[in-house]
């Protein structure tokens, strides 16, 4: 399969006359039509490699020369202050004040309002309400409104024994 070249053969003879006397042939076989088939297979494989995303990910010419300027330009644009940003501290302070006003001022007004509303109800009506809803009110409230006496709550020794 390989053409003999005198130069190579002479060199081999010098080193090993025995080896130089052996037939120089390859005992191995290949499947029929292997070299025709493998050419198509390899070429197909190489064409696929050419169209894989990896090879498409090649950078455009001069990309790294341009990207530096583009990044710097974007940084400059993003650094330009926007007009409304300078009002943020004032808006924040006003918001805190407003919240405090709601928390501090508003509960007092609410309590006053309840007092005013209760004063407008007559004592008779209040007593009437309490007597009808006696299960829902505490003993102290009943004593305050004179519906019961504190002495009514005292239990005598005789009652304890019974």
């Amino acid at each position: 399969m390989t053409n003999f070249n005198d130069h190579f053969q002479d060199e081999l003879k010098e080193i090993s006359p025995y080896l130089a006397s052996l037939p120089k042939q390859d005992p191995k076989n290949v499947p029929d039509g292997y070299f025709e088939q493998i050419e198509d297979e390899i070429v197909h494989q190489l064409m696929l490699i050419r169209h894989t995303p990896e090879s498409n990910r090649q950078l455009p010419d001069g990309y790294f020369d341009q990207v530096e300027n583009q990044v710097i330009r974007k940084i400059k644009i993003s650094k330009k202050p926007r007009a409304w940003i300078k009002f943020i501290p004032y808006v924040a302070a006003a918001s805190i004040l407003f919240i405090l006003m709601i928390l501090v001022v508003s509960p007092a007004d609410h309590a006053n309002q309840e007092t005013v509303q209760l004063a407008q109800i007559s004592e008779m009506d209040q007593l009437d309400y309490l007597s009808k809803n006696i299960d829902d009110v505490s003993l102290n409230t009943l004593i305050d409104y004179g519906l019961i006496e504190e002495s009514d709550l005292m239990i005598t020794d005789a009652e304890v024994e019974n």
């Binding site: 052996l22 042939q25 390859d26 191995k28 493998i38 390899i42």
Partner: protein
């Protein structure tokens, strides 16, 4: 190998409008000699087939970096040889092949053996060489490459290569004639 041919193939692949034509030129030109080099290195057809394909894939993936400082053939042989040595290292690390596994027949000697048997022993003797020495022997004995080209492929000096080849031939001769090296 004529450098002008290399240039045509490379330009067809990298700059041509029909890269498939370039691939076909490349594969067609080198497939057989590379296959036989690889096959002699690794033995089995299936392994040689895989390595041959990997070699061409590597060549194409790196062809833009090929500076034409050596011929395409030298470059392809270098890639193929390295692939073979990597494969053999992996294979050797996976299994331990007993010495004389296929050989210990009858302790035959002399020059009267059947041709097939001699060729089989030659193959066994070659396979017993260290991987790099084996590659050098095969490139010189079968492919008849000049030392200067083998030096480029293996990145070794020509003086060292001559000594390597000489030792390889002597070991093979001893193995075939005496049954050991």
């Amino acid at each position: 190998m004529i450098i002008a041919d290399d240039r045509i193939i490379i330009e067809q692949i990298t700059k041509g409008t029909d890269p498939e034509k370039g691939y076909r030129m490349l594969v067609s030109m080198f497939k057989e000699r590379l296959y036989w080099h690889i096959r002699r290195m690794v033995g089995e057809h299936e392994d040689a087939d895989d390595i041959l394909q990997n070699t061409f894939v590597k060549v194409i993936k790196n062809i833009n970096g090929f500076k034409m400082q050596s011929s395409l053939q030298t470059w392809l042989y270098r890639i193929a040889t390295n692939e073979c040595i990597t494969f053999l290292n992996k294979k050797n690390s996976r299994k331990v092949t007993p010495l004389n596994s296929a050989y210990d027949t009858n302790g035959v000697s002399g020059l009267y053996q059947e041709a097939d048997e001699i060729l089989s022993k030659l193959e066994q003797a070659i396979n017993r060489l260290p991987d790099k020495q084996k590659a050098v022997f095969l490139m010189r004995y079968y492919d008849e490459l000049p030392y200067s080209e083998i030096a480029e492929i293996t990145e070794t000096s020509t003086g060292a290569l001559k000594a390597t080849y000489h030792h390889a031939v002597k070991k093979i001769e001893e193995f075939i004639i005496d049954g050991h090296d």
